[in-house]
């Protein structure tokens, strides 16, 4: 018996190291040749923005794409109106509130790059959307395995109940954004100069000044702090999309739209949950569905093979590859505050 157990262990040892995951490389065409377009119009007042950038190579160190500048972006509606966007920052083009989105109408954009290539989006329609009725949270105890052991990773799951709207096949997306306050302690800012002793250098906005000697002076409060707190945004991992399976009595019930990790950073002060319920056209729904499949598939043992996510931009006078989506949506917002107090309860 002992002998067998020993043999089992021996083989287990091999199994532990047997399944393995390693990077793999494929020769692919350069990503920099691709134009990426992203933008939307809503039924809320503008300005609306469209960003133009280049594709990111898979071995790129940064996730910040190169902006595409000096292009001409024009928005069209189905009533024959058009509006030219202006480039406000590199690669970001903004409208001037000439056109405002309206439910039931379709919109598209035309992008003309500085080398004369024209791309147009497939027109997208703004459908009606229902209201968010309630946002709730539920505590979930979780742990996660790190190389140094098991740690607590509890979360608040955020659920919404809402009206599914008048559309028969409601294609809805919930966009979840978390905003939380962090303390920055700008008065404790230091500069390290040779011979590398910390040199106190309170930020001017902290309201503190340094008195006494250059290295060992004291901090003296002279004004209110203007930059002691700041708001940080957290975004959803994958788009949350509606599912006809989840509609009952024209109501969406208990839709999990996001989760907030319970960490000291997130709950230093309070955490604001913002949920936008957005109507989608079938095309936009399919586009976000592909993104969701890709984002969620990553954690599944049976990862479905992702397809091409081409979006609705089409080349007009060329055959270049163009990615991205220009979509139109009606948006209803709601928010909810998770404060320290709630957390303590």
């Amino acid at each position: 018996m002992n002998l067998r157990r020993w043999k089992l262990r021996w083989v287990m040892l091999f199994l532990v190291v047997s399944a393995c995951v390693e990077p793999i490389y494929f020769e692919v065409p350069p990503a920099e040749l691709q134009l990426v377009v992203e933008g939307m119009i809503t039924d809320s007042p503008g300005p609306y923005t469209v960003t133009l950038s280049k594709g990111l190579a898979l071995d790129s160190k940064s996730s910040l794409p190169m902006p595409v500048q000096n292009a001409k972006v024009t928005l069209f509606d189905d009533a024959g109106n058009s509006e030219i966007f202006t480039e406000t920052t590199a690669g970001t083009y903004t409208s001037s509130n000439i056109i405002q989105g309206q439910v039931g109408h379709t919109y598209y954009i035309r992008v003309e790059t500085s080398d004369g290539k024209i791309f147009e989006s497939t027109p997208d329609k703004i459908n009606q959307v229902g209201e968010i009725e309630e946002i709730r949270f539920e505590f979930e105890a979780r742990t996660t395995i790190k190389p140094y052991g098991e740690i607590v990773a509890d979360v608040f799951n955020i659920y919404v109940d809402s009206d599914a709207g008048a559309e028969e096949d409601a294609y809805v997306r919930w966009r979840f954004t978390g905003t939380f306050e962090v303390f920055t302690y700008p008065e404790l800012h230091t500069i390290w100069t040779p011979p590398y002793t910390p040199y106190k250098a309170p930020e001017p906005c902290s309201g503190y000044i340094l008195i006494g000697g250059p290295n060992g002076g004291k901090l003296l409060k002279v004004d209110e702090c203007a930059c002691c707190t700041c708001w940080v945004n957290a975004f959803e991992v994958a788009p949350q999309l509606s599912d006809t399976k989840l509609i009952g009595n024209n109501q969406f019930k208990n839709i999990k739209v996001g989760e907030v990790p319970i960490t000291p950073t997130n709950f230093h002060k309070r955490y604001q949950v913002n949920v936008e319920q957005m109507s989608l056209s079938k095309n936009a729904f399919d586009f976000f569905k592909l993104i969701r499949a890709q984002k969620e598939g990553a954690s599944s043992l049976f990862q479905p093979p992702s397809g091409e996510i081409n979006g609705n931009m089409n080349p007009v006078n060329n055959s270049e590859s163009v990615l991205g989506f220009f979509w139109a949506s009606s948006v209803k917002k709601n928010q909810f505050l998770l404060s320290e107090v709630i957390f303590l309860i």
Binding site: S18, C20, P23, I291, G307, E308, G324, F325
Partner: protein
């Protein structure tokens, strides 16, 4: 080699008044005397002369009295079973001759048989005096000596004539030969070979019993194994032998039928943990797996790491990958027909094995001696340690567990010599818990009865009825989303098959009926607070019905034709409601125009087909044959999957209003040759296959719990072609086999819009398209009890879809993927070795044990199983490869027979 030269010197002047000495009547005084004594007496008394070499007849004597018989009759009787013959040269002169050629061959064959300790049996059919003119036909049936089961594919080879035949499915054979003395070698894998010393002078019946090999692990087919492939009548058919299976190196020591099949030419798999196998560019669901005639929907344990058939319970398995016989249908690529073992009718015995992963037990024996037998087997995992030990960054397997079992039960009762009834039960279950939250469970449950009835000597009937059920559940134990997803497919099968033999024709005909009930998916919450909805997709009902007829015709042992027709019919019926979409618009929910409702039993769609089947074999020479096969098969059930490898939670979807049945047409042509002494054999086979109405999924398709799958799936065309080559050495201490296959599998799915096409309607490789496949396997007998075996496998990496770049979408980075299947993962290759040590070979021992030490993936190649994407630090998805068995993997198992 000693060649006796027969010289007869005839220098005698013949007396003119001599009488016909062969007509001489014996008086009985010859009893007890030797032939030479008696002949000398006759010579003296009758002025006759006999010519012979004394040593030929030195052992021949008259054991009994032949009073009243003529000398001719007495000599004919005496010479039966010898190579001696005689003729009257003149009325008073008799020459005893020895047929030199036949005698040499006969002697050699007998000597070989004696040397190899084969059983030699003598039979005499008719007598020389009444010898038929022309050929004598020998017919008979070969059965297992213990179980009485008819044995198919038993090779019957006439050594001196160098022709042979194999038994059919009912164990029957028929051979024509010149009257005279012949030596027959009877061989079948897993059975003790037998040598028949036959004297045949008229048509006759010779039924044979073969004994199962006492030594589990010895390869059987020795001298004439080489004849097997050539005399095998059917193109594209392979018999899987349990004995060679047990000698092959196995992953974790688990002997596996499906893994063995994956090493055959033209068969491949997408990876270690992939369910099933791919045959000649076909998908996994295009293989029909039958267990005692009942369909098995999922043949895997642990997602395909092992297959769900306990090799101890299996008698034999046949794979038909080209020229599929008319009695099989319903799957486009291949048929794997697995037959379970009958229990022994004589005594109880068993078999137990201990491996690293599983233990198994098989017992069988008589409930009523000679009449009723029982065979039962069970196999199960020990614990969850296997899965817990697999640790990857990919999924958290810490809280995972795996469990599986399979069990079989077979009861056989011989009502009389002509009637046998048997009942088979089979059950398998898997449970796989991932990350503590999600449990995947799947189950197969089969039960059936079969009646074999011999209507007359040439007419056999087989009736069977049974039910096969496959179901799976996915349990989510998350408190707020707790749910149970379930799926079930139940097939009720009835079959009536007949086999009629007349002369050189063998007719097979019958009727098959299958009634399918599908529960395509239901979801229910498992807690009162769960947000999961109570949802159940409508059940689907359909019937598959087929009539078939085929004629198996052997012409002069050189030309063999099996032509047949199969008439399948498929009907889907209500209750059901089907969406009608706007004409010329894509099938999308937004385009629904109307709904058709069908009441209970009302046919919503019906398909008829005609499937011609033809196989030809022409013996181009004694050592070579040319074979041809054509078959058309309609497939009415398909597995709907959108992950790279088949998973247990994929959905079986019947044909119906929107899904047309797949239609596969295949032609194959092969040349088979063996070397003069049959040590080597080689074959080459080409095939072309065209498949209509193949199904593939749209990008990002959601298949589970989707009541309108027609909106997520597309139908198109498939095409596959290739060449398969094989060379093997079958005899001696060192035997080996090598095969190489070049084959391609493509699809075209082209619809009116981009959303209804894949890769814009261009041809693309199927995800199991692996152009180059090579396998090498060998066995070296270090001694009678020690074997060193191994195999090497190579195949081209399969196609995958990979990210080409990434782009920003809102605040996340999204990968931009290539067209479907436009890149390939690195090639797969692996070497496995095993050392097999058998217990001693004494026949009279209580138990015999066998140790198998095997090493899987000897040089620790990290063969990618799949490619997936993880976010790198910058949020850009990067491709990673997952290797299931990424290292060298030794294992040990022990089997004992008692």
């Amino acid at each position: 080699m000693r060649v006796p030269i027969v010289i007869l010197l005839l220098s005698y002047s013949i007396s003119a008044h001599s009488q016909d000495i062969l007509a001489l009547k014996l008086d009985g005084s010859e009893q007890g005397k030797s032939l030479s004594e008696v002949l000398a007496e006759i010579e003296n008394k009758n002025n006759a002369k006999f010519f012979f070499l004394p040593e030929w007849i030195s052992s021949v004597s008259f054991a009994e009295s032949h009073q009243g018989q003529t000398l001719e009759q007495a000599l004919a009787y005496l010479f039966i079973g010898t190579e001696l013959n005689f003729f009257a040269m003149y009325p008073g002169t008799v020459v005893i001759v020895k047929d030199a050629k036949q005698s040499i061959q006969r002697k050699e064959a007998i000597q070989v048989a004696i040397r190899e300790k084969k059983t030699i049996e003598q039979y005499v059919l008719g007598d020389q005096g009444t010898s038929t003119k022309g050929n004598a036909v020998l017919k008979g049936k070969v059965i297992d000596s213990k179980t009485g089961d008819p044995l198919s594919q038993v090779n019957i080879y006439i050594v001196d004539l160098q022709v042979g035949a194999a038994t059919d499915q009912m164990g029957n054979y028929s051979l024509a030969m010149e009257p005279g003395i012949h030596v027959l070698n009877i061989s079948s894998i897993d059975y003790e070979p037998k040598v028949i010393d036959l004297a045949i002078y008229k048509d006759g019946q010779l039924d044979l019993e073969l004994e199962k090999m006492a030594r589990l692990l010895d390869e059987v087919v020795v001298q004439d194994g080489g004849a097997l492939e050539i005399s095998e009548s059917r193109i594209g058919e392979t018999q899987i032998t349990m004995s060679s299976l047990k000698l092959a190196p196995a992953l974790m020591g688990e002997v596996d039928i499906i893994k063995q099949i994956q090493n055959l030419p033209g068969v491949t798999t997408v990876g270690e943990a992939a369910t099933g196998f791919n045959v000649r560019g076909g998908s996994v669901d295009q293989n029909l797996i039958l267990y005692d005639g009942l369909p098995v929907s999922n043949s895997s344990h642990v997602f395909g790491l092992f297959s769900s058939f306990n090799p101890e319970a299996v008698r034999n398995a046949s794979l038909y990958r080209g020229g599929i016989p008319a009695e099989y249908g319903g799957r486009a690529s291949s048929i794997l027909d697995i037959k379970s073992k009958d229990g022994s009718y004589e005594k109880w015995n068993g078999n137990a094995g201990i491996g690293l992963i599983t233990s198994n037990l098989m017992i069988n024996g008589p409930l009523q001696k000679g009449k009723t037998s029982l065979a039962a087997s069970f196999r199960s995992t020990y614990s969850d340690w296997l899965i817990r030990a697999v640790r990857t960054d990919y999924v958290d397997l810490e809280n995972s567990s795996v469990f599986f079992y399979d069990g079989t039960l077979k009861l056989t009762h011989k009502i009389n010599d002509r009637t046998k009834i048997s009942a088979t039960g089979y059950s398998s279950k898997d449970s796989f818990t991932l990350d503590g939250d999600t449990t995947y469970q799947w189950k197969n449950l089969l039960g059936g009865v079969k009646l074999d009835y011999q209507i007359s000597a040439a007419h056999i009937a087989e009736f069977s009825a049974g039910v096969s059920s496959y179901s799976y559940n996915v349990l989510n134990s998350d408190p707020l989303n707790g749910s149970e997803l379930s799926f079930r497919l139940t097939s009720s099968v009835f079959k009536a098959g007949f086999n009629y033999q007349q002369g050189n024709h063998q007719l097979n005909y019958g009727w098959q009926l299958t009634y399918y009930q599908f529960n395509p998916g239901s979801l229910k919450p498992t807690s009162s607070v769960s947000s999961a909805t109570n949802l159940s997709l409508a059940k689907q009902y359909s019937v598959e019905n087929a009539l078939y007829l085929s004629d198996n015709w052997a012409f002069q042992n050189r030309f063999f034709v099996d032509g047949g027709l199969r008439f399948p019919m498929f009907a889907a019926f209500g209750p059901s409601s089907i969406n009608v979409y706007k004409p010329a618009e894509p099938l999308e929910i937004s385009n629904v125009m109307d709904t058709l409702n069908y009441s209970r039993g009302e046919v919503s769609k019906m398909y008829f087909g005609i499937e011609p089947r033809l196989t030809l074999r022409w013996m181009a020479g004694p050592k070579s044959s040319i074979k041809f096969g054509y078959s058309r098969v309609y497939q009415y059930l398909q597995l709907i999957t959108n992950s790279t490898a088949v998973t247990p939670v994929d959905i079986w979807q019947p044909s119906g209003y929107y899904f047309k049945p797949q239609r596969a047409d295949q032609v194959s042509l092969g040349y088979f040759i063996s070397s003069k002494n049959k040590i080597f054999e080689a074959s080459a086979e080409v095939f072309y296959k065209s498949i209509g109405n193949i199904i593939d999924f749209k990008d990002g398709a959601e298949l589970i719990l989707n009541p309108h799958l027609e909106t997520e799936l597309l139908q198109g065309k498939g095409e596959a072609y290739g060449i398969e080559t094989l060379i093997s050495k079958n005899t001696g201490r060192f035997t080996w086999s090598m095969n190489y296959t070049y084959s391609r599998a493509f699809r075209i799915i082209s619809g009116p819009t981009a959303g209804e096409s894949i890769n814009n309607g261009k041809q693309y490789p199927a995800n199991y398209d692996q152009p180059h496949i090579a396998n090498l396997s060998w066995k070296y007998n270090l001694s009678r009890r020690y074997f060193f075996t191994g195999n090497f496998t190579y195949h081209t990496g399969r196609p995958v879809t990979v990210p080409l770049s990434a782009f920003a979408s809102e605040n996340t980075t999204v990968a931009y993927f290539s067209e479907r299947n436009s890149y390939r993962i690195p090639d797969y290759h692996r070497l496995d070795l095993a050392l097999v040590i058998e217990g001693n070979h004494k026949r009279k021992k209580i138990a015999s044990g066998t140790w198998v030490f095997s090493v899987y993936n000897v040089y620790a190649r990290k063969n990618p199983y799949t490619v997936f994407f993880k976010n790198s630090g910058a949020g850009i998805p990067k491709p990673y490869q997952l290797s299931i068995i990424g290292t060298i993997f030794p294992s040990i198992s022990y089997n004992v027979k008692f």
